[in-house]
């Protein structure tokens, strides 16, 4: 079973990130709390467990709308031996804070963050990165992923996607009824994994990994 690695450097980074948000970006405190719930952790742990089972190549990983990326980054680097994680996030505050939360990974060139709306701009227009895995754990907030795939055609990309059928939040603009619809929306033809999981908050999350 995978657990969230509490490395001394991560504890230090997290404490400094909270302190920074408290001093400089108080309006983000509530958002950090929402990103740090038991359910948020459960969904990232589930993702990491399945990725490890599949023994995927994680040399370079893209996170789409990764928010603060504070749970998934240590999980993938310490447990799944990811080489580099790049967080593409359109919210500048979240992007900046993701650097703070992952400061020591950033210093050691294992974490980067880029301000970008991934549905309206190409992910990697100058082929700076050689991504193996594209992770989007917030598909319910975005246009169907088939559009992204078409815009960023690349045979090397494996996708790990999560979504939900929980329509109670007004920013859930693209809920799906199950993992099959998620795969269909993303035009995932080779499915390595698909499944669902009920989280601590009662929300059902669906996950598909494939290409």
């Amino acid at each position: 079973m995978v657990s969230i690695p509490l490395q001394p450097n991560s504890i230090n980074d997290w404490a400094r990130a909270f302190d920074f948000a408290n001093r400089e970006k108080q309006w983000m405190i509530q958002r950090i709390k929402h990103a740090s719930t038991v359910s948020q952790s459960q969904s990232k742990l589930w993702l990491t467990e399945e990725i490890i089972k599949l023994n995927l190549n994680l040399d370079q990983v893209a996170l789409l709308g990764g928010w603060f990326a504070h749970i998934i980054t240590p999980l993938l680097i310490e447990n799944a031996r990811a080489g580099l994680i790049v967080n593409f996030e359109m919210d500048r505050d979240a992007k900046d804070l993701s650097y703070k939360f992952n400061n020591h990974y950033s210093i050691t060139q294992r974490f980067r963050a880029v301000e970008k709306n991934v549905m309206l701009e190409k992910l990697n227009p100058r082929d700076k990165y050689k991504f193996n895995l594209i992770i989007n754990t917030s598909c319910e907030h975005m246009f169907p992923m088939s559009y992204f795939k078409e815009m960023n055609k690349n045979d090397n990309y494996v996708y790990a996607l999560q979504s939900t059928d929980d329509e109670q939040y007004d920013d859930h603009i693209n809920c799906v009824k199950d993992e099959n619809e998620l795969a269909e929306q993303a035009n995932i033809k080779q499915i390595y994994f698909k499944g669902s999981k009920v989280l601590e908050n009662g929300m059902t999350r669906f996950m598909v990994i494939g290409k």
């Binding site: 970006k25 108080q26 309006w27 983000m28 509530q30 958002r31 709308g65 928010w67 996030e89 359109m90 919210d91 500048r92 505050d93 979240a94 709306n117 549905m119 309206l120 975005m142 246009f143 559009y147 007004d170 920013d171 603009i173 693209n174």
Partner: protein, 235 residues
């Protein structure tokens, strides 16, 4: 100067003569008034509008950013006005602005920190497209952007103002936006107040300002301007 309003359907058609009269009474420079209604508005984005979602519902306003679609609009200066507003002062002011950038209403009644907090959730825009001032061609990039990404945009953005805040403004550094906001003291809101947090009294007329806005679709207020006692003699 071209002064434009946009009207689709028939919900606000009785507002048009009211606006026209207000402009006659409050504009000391030469102007041409254009009503862009269903007879002249294009329809090529209609198929991207999803009625069940009702996102991006005011998209027809964006057609005017491509002036070539309306060849009867001559000249280079454009002032767009929503139908549901009250003009207090001479519109000449808007013609005389420095036009190094186009202008849009910066809703000063919004707490910009709240706009930053909700940026990722595509909520709480600081912009309000009830009044827009531009010169020919300045807003064509917006039309082109919507045209290029219409499928995603109509699916994603609840309002055109949310969209503009995301792509043609900078809520973290407001001096860097594609638009300039009209300065404090120009435009206020009947339902939301004037300047956060110091002057937020609602339903207060401020006749020393240029324009008062009456839209409040976000709060689902659907009050006809005729029903507002305080403005009956002014409107």
């Amino acid at each position: 100067m071209n002064i434009i309003c946009v009207s689709w359907g028939n919900k606000y058609t009785d507002y048009i003569p009211k606006l026209k009269k207000q402009i006659q009474n409050n504009c000391s420079v030469d102007y041409n008034f254009h009503v862009l209604d269903d007879h002249v508005l294009p329809t090529h984005w209609d198929k991207h509008f999803i009625p069940d979602k009702n996102f991006f519902w005011a998209y027809r306003k964006f057609y005017m950013f491509n002036e070539d679609l309306f060849p009867f609009m001559k000249g280079d200066e454009f002032l767009y006005l929503d139908l549901d507003l009250l003009i207090h002062q001479d519109l000449k002011y808007f013609q005389q602005l420095d036009m190094s950038k186009p202008y849009i209403v910066r809703g000063w009644w919004n707490d910009i920190k709240n706009c930053r907090k909700n940026f990722g959730r595509i909520k709480s825009t600081p912009l309000n497209s009830s009044v827009i001032r531009w010169n020919r061609g300045q807003l064509k990039p917006i039309y082109d952007h919507v045209e290029k990404y219409k499928e995603v945009i109509f699916f994603t953005y609840r309002t055109i103002d949310n969209y503009l805040a995301h792509h043609f403004y900078d809520v973290w550094d407001e001096s860097r936006g594609y638009f300039k906001g009209f300065p404090k003291g120009d435009i206020y809101s009947w339902y939301k107040g004037n300047v956060y947090p110091v002057d937020m009294e609602e339903k207060l007329l401020r006749p020393e300002y240029k324009i008062c806005l009456f839209n409040n679709s976000a709060a689902k207020i659907d009050e006809h301007m005729n029903e507002i006692e305080e403005i009956k003699e002014l409107w």
